[in-house]
Symmetry: D2
Subunit: 337 residues, 4 copies
């Protein structure tokens, strides 16, 4: 960590800080520059003491040198993390495609959808049983009965199930039915939930919070990983910006960044990322070209009957075409589907 | 709600949509403009069906006319919400000041701090027992023992206690010790937690999420209010922007906006909002001048011993001066302290 | 345009507003909803009077129905705009690639670079003669001598030249040497410059401002188009967000949005968009997959000798590989290069 | 400057970089940390070579230690810059208030307005002759005739005039009529214009660009200051964020930041900052409480006749009340008006 010292700092205050640095087990390296004094703090776990150093009045800024995450970093583990979920490899050269409705509604719609995405070539089936909604008056999900229907859809199609868990108290029941636990964007920094899913043995798909930097997102993954659960899929789903022609701004820049800094797989969710039906397919292809390890797409056989987010659901026929396009772009960047 | 129809929509599709509008109990008003057809959807609860209308392919956009929140709106209740917490009026002409350390550390520091802020004129004492931290390796709070120490500080000073609850499973224990339950910025859209604190009878201080619009924030408050808990304090604590000279960008614009649209009290938290000791006092005064109903300030007798956020803690002597300045600005805008 | 009227508006004020609407040549359509009165303003050029309607105290909001741009819209011209620059078709099925150094430095580096990008298959050569720099102490460009060197590079390679114009007074000289005039991100809303390049007969590449919505960007293009210059290339180069792991956040979502709303071609500039050498190639491929009509890439034979932005310059050998990858992704989405 | 070196860097590449550092006249300080090598680059003008160091492939990041601005910094000049404009002191303990219409329209409205703001106590009169408008179809300002009317208003009231210059070619004519040249938000990084106004002897009011960091804004001021014009007023007028209940997000945090880092005066423009009549007064007061050296307010006697931005114009009677409130808040923070 580099401490930049204020220009008007007194020698005795710099000395006191230097003592503190030694007390904490670090070695201080003082450099007197043309204008400022800077102190290099050499040692491990620098992040742990960032707050302490910054609390000194003479410290203008404390700049860490290493990234704050460890176990999820490429430096900790060079090769990509690859794991198996119900017979499907995640994180390998072959992309994964997760598809299904936003919310579980009728059994008929659900099973029609599951068969359609299976036949188009999807590897996982998704559907919401517990729904995070901005309004208390909006549909909140069918809960356990939806989970049961998802399990039935799995029996019919063989596709493993991805579904969201919103609260620590729901982890047990969702774990019982789902193959992958989804942690939604609004819970990316729900640290108690992260700890809890870190204790399960089911893979976790961790969406990026809409105001979270890549670094914060990887720290959220570190919560899960350090809890003992190493099967994590990151999912970019759009961040908040001033632009309003799309629902969010899907940040594809994050894909090469994430692939550079971490060994974990990353997928994209253009359905939530842009939120407009016509723009989803191009963004799915862009995600694949940028190096994503998979794609999640909302599909509904009858979007106008959907209980949430119908405007961003593709019809099965559109999804079918998209799968073929994804296959071509995947091949162009040396991947398969 | 106003539906703008795509220019190339066919008559039969417009007719089908019009039928749907009627089926849902609304009255459609069709206007053929110079360029576009628009349909006014007249009736109550328009927000409930926004998703449905948007899922129609011929609908370019659906623009609601009324705000999505009801119970927290000025239209529902014209006069300001005022309530009593441990003998202190919240939301009235007299401002409230909440002060204390970020995290509870030693008893000695805690009680020194409590006595100091009491003597400077604060009305509430704050301190974190459960701490949301970006890193799993950072100090996570002393939990129940910290709550007990806060209760002891209340006994010593008479100041009611404000402390954070991070998880539905913590609500019971925090409610037992605290006078006001704080829901932090990262949990502003933790809907299960909102529902749970909506069931308690303790007042809730709801911080704005760092990527939440004012509208989403008020919808979060609506979750609590519609659950039966009407004692809500909104707290602006900074949003995420591109600017990096402050930790967050405290959005004081939100104060007149919130006072215009809702009857709930709002306070500001400049300590987290700017995160730099030297800039906290001016922003506290600015919050009061903008019309805030109170201020929350982090104070620590020995910032370099703080277990979190020491860089943004004021020394008691600074807080004392700030209280006097707040008093003068409050008077200038017709308030007392 | 839809005017939403405040709930407490008096009848006489609504009547006065209605008269004003008629006076301006529009037809008012009044709808009394469950909660609010709304007035539809029917007629052309609604945007021209948005400010006027909003200045009425009883008007809560004025929501235009049609987009504010006309000539650049898909509604004005359905088919893609395609034009020829020095024998290269822009906006057609074949992508364009623009490559070269950020700034023009030595003749030797320039000509080496021009030959390298030509041999790799680029269609245009770029280089900065006038440089917009955040600091007055940074290199500001070699001006006319750089323009002359660019012209010489064109003679050597046959590649048409793209270079930036920063000021109305530079338009004449840049027009004399360049084949395409670049208007940079910081000048996206330099309206006098837009008017001036609208008067030239050279094609204009208009970069999106780092805080401009797609709508504002298209309005900037409308300035040029309505001035009589219809040869416009839009260029997405990243917007400002809270994320700091890349220099800017390149907004690929804007590509399908722009292709939907306008007939103008759009290219991407991942070099400025991400600003980190390792992340440029994936983002270039993502841009092509998203539907961009071309790519601009910074290339320098000796990045450590570059006078600006060396950290984002590809070596010729990297660019060569990228061209092949672009070719494959282009083919996958039905385009050629 | 601190260079963080990539973990896999080879010794010979580090040696080559070290040589380059020496060649450029700096002294390298190498520290081998627990995980990374970092190199301190000691010497002046580090910013000038940031690009060069970052262009080395082994450099992960280059972190400057000193701020990039010099002449406008507090380190260069400790005491506040105070100067006189037409008999009014700017930057002193007494606040300045600039008021007037957004655009100059009729003489009658203009003179009525000028007399009203004078009588309410304003120190400067503002009005737009050249108007930056998002749309080419919007009113673009009355140009020189408006400047002449402003000069007449000055004769009538004695108030010095503030008006915008949008283009290098307009500097001469605006300088002839105006007392303070305004550089608008969209031109904050129009570097040629900054250089040009740096050559004039008229004070410049420099608005912050809506996507500019405080650092970039101060660098823009450095362009003017280093050109020889030291009479600069900074003006915060709102930045772009995701929030949409106000037109922009006025960043009051910037006020203490700017006062800390620079000796230049700063004022706030809540009219553009929030863009909603009802929210302007509270934000003006908040700006004063935060430490601003003045306020700019749009006032129009008949907002519904305004040619631009009528929705954010205060009526003279509202402005009159605001002046009294400003006076009280100013007194509360030890200032006068």
């Amino acid at each position: 960590m580099i401490l930049t010292i204020k220009s008007d700092a007194k020698k005795k205050d710099i000395d006191a800080l230097t003592e503190k640095i030694k007390d904490l087990g670090f070695t201080p390296h003082i450099s007197k520059g043309a204008v400022k004094v800077i102190i290099g703090v050499i040692g491990e776990n620098e992040h742990k003491y960032k707050d302490v150093f910054e609390s000194y009045d003479i410290v203008e800024s404390a700049t860490p040198i290493v990234k704050p995450y460890k176990l999820v970093s490429r430096e900790f583990k060079k090769e990509n993390t690859v794991f198996d979920v119900g017979g499907v490899k995640v994180g390998g050269n072959k992309l994964i495609v997760i598809a299904g409705p936003c919310s579980v509604d009728t059994k008929e719609n659900l099973f029609t959808c599951a068969r359609a995405v299976k036949s188009a070539g999807a590897h996982f089936f998704r559907g919401g049983a517990f729904k995070p909604r901005s309004s208390p008056y909006s549909f909140q999900g069918h809960g356990e009965s939806a989970l049961k229907n998802l399990a039935e859809a799995r029996k019919i199609t063989g596709l493993p199930i991805v579904t969201e868990v919103m609260d620590t108290r729901q982890v047990e029941i969702v774990e019982r039915y789902a193959d992958i636990l989804q942690v939604g964007a609004r819970n990316c920094q729900n640290f108690e939930l992260l700890k809890e899913v870190g204790q399960t043995r089911k893979p976790v798909m961790l969406k990026r919070g809409m105001a979270n930097t890549v670094e914060e997102w990887l720290m959220a993954a570190e919560y899960i990983y350090s809890g003992g659960n190493h099967q994590i899929i990151l999912c970019e789903r759009g961040v908040r910006t001033f632009e309003n022609s799309t629902r969010f701004t899907m940040d594809l820049n994050a894909i090469p960044v994430v692939k550079h800094y971490t060994h974990l797989p990353i997928i994209v969710d253009p359905s939530h990322g842009v939120g407009v039906r016509d723009f989803i397919a191009p963004m799915a292809l862009a995600g694949v070209a940028a190096g994503a390890d998979g794609v999640m797409i909302e599909v509904h056989p009858k979007p106008t009957e959907a209980l949430s987010d119908g405007m961003q659901a593709l019809l099965p026929v559109m999804f079918d075409k998209l799968m073929q396009d994804i296959g071509r772009v995947a091949a162009a960047v040396g991947r398969t589907i």
